[in-house]
């Protein structure tokens, strides 16, 4: 059986010419790094689960993508991360929502899948579970970037604007 991998870094209204050259290049470089991280696992016979997690963790660390570091802000000015992972072989699955102090949310989701009887944990409990299972913690400041803060300020300046339409920064 031959291996295959696909990744995404979000969809949206970015049109050709809409992104600066620097953002375009940074996005492509991030995708290339994540693709290589996952492909390297598969090339050496590793599991699809490990490959998918490896690719997502690279993107979670890349401030150009809305996940982990570089996530968008809530209206209260916080960062809350969600993640899920699923194995096709036995339909095992793990998911977390509302994480604030776990560096790789996808790693927390995997721990839920493999080291708990549950599928979905949310909020402070999910962070506590991750830390109790040695999933790397991170200070909330780790996730914050100036560009996302600017986007939040822009949205808060238009309280009457629909918060998920052309102003969406997904």
């Amino acid at each position: 059986m031959s291996w295959a991998l696909a990744i995404h870094g979000g969809s949206g209204s970015m049109r050709r010419g809409h992104l600066s050259q620097a953002d375009d290049e940074a996005g492509r470089a991030g995708l290339a790094a994540a693709l290589e991280a996952g492909a390297a696992v598969l090339r050496r016979g590793g599991s699809a689960l490990d490959a998918a997690q490896a690719a997502v963790e690279v993107l979670e660390d890349d401030p150009h993508f809305n996940a982990g570091r570089g996530s968008v802000f809530t209206a209260e000015g916080r960062i809350e991360c969600d993640a899920a992972i699923m194995a096709g072989s036995d339909l095992a699955a793990g998911a977390v929502a509302g994480l604030r102090t776990t560096r790789h949310p996808v790693a927390a989701a995997r721990a839920v899948m493999e080291r708990s009887p549950h599928v979905f944990l949310a909020g402070a409990g999910a962070d506590a579970f991750a830390h109790a299972h040695d999933i790397e913690a991170a200070d909330p400041a780790w996730f914050e970037t100036a560009e996302r803060r600017r986007q939040l300020d822009e949205i808060l300046a238009r309280p009457d604007g629909r918060f998920d339409s052309d102003m969406k920064y997904g």
């Binding site: 295959a4 969809s11 970015m14 809305n66 899920a84 339909l91 939040l152």
Partner: protein, 132 residues
């Protein structure tokens, strides 16, 4: 939102999705990414899927699971099922995209937005990276 779908040399598949959600989200809003069957699903009998976009629509359509069901029960190719699901998404007024990998062949994608950060690699295909 970011995601990955993979098939390994043993034919096992997996899907993973991670997100910060929506800018300015309120009231503990959660989208499709962590909802198994909406933004993330994997079934070795069918495909692995990860989604991105206006999460509320992906939740209502159960898009990731529905794509796998079409492959498993109707014999659709993942690519055809993915296009059909994005078509239904658009009909509801939703925007976004998905990536998929099936039991053979390279991974693929479908989306109805002007852009989607995406890339793919396979044992027998050159890597591909695209945004628009």
């Amino acid at each position: 939102t970011v995601g990955a779908v993979a098939r390994d040399m043993a034919g096992r598949m997996a899907a993973a999705t991670s997100t910060g959600g929506l800018t300015g989200k309120k009231w503990g809003r959660v989208g499709d990414s962590p909802l198994i069957g909406a933004g993330t699903y994997a079934d070795d009998r069918a495909a692995a899927v990860s989604c991105t976009g206006a999460g509320e629509y992906f939740i209502r359509l159960g898009i990731a699971h529905e794509l796998c069901a079409r492959v498993r029960l109707a014999g659709d190719l993942p690519s055809a099922a993915g296009e059909a699901m994005i078509g239904e998404l658009g009909t509801m007024g939703g925007k976004g995209g998905l990536i998929h990998v099936g039991r053979d062949g390279p991974g693929g994608w479908a989306f109805n937005t002007p852009g989607m950060y995406r890339a793919r690699a396979a044992a027998d295909a050159a890597p591909e990276i695209a945004i628009y």
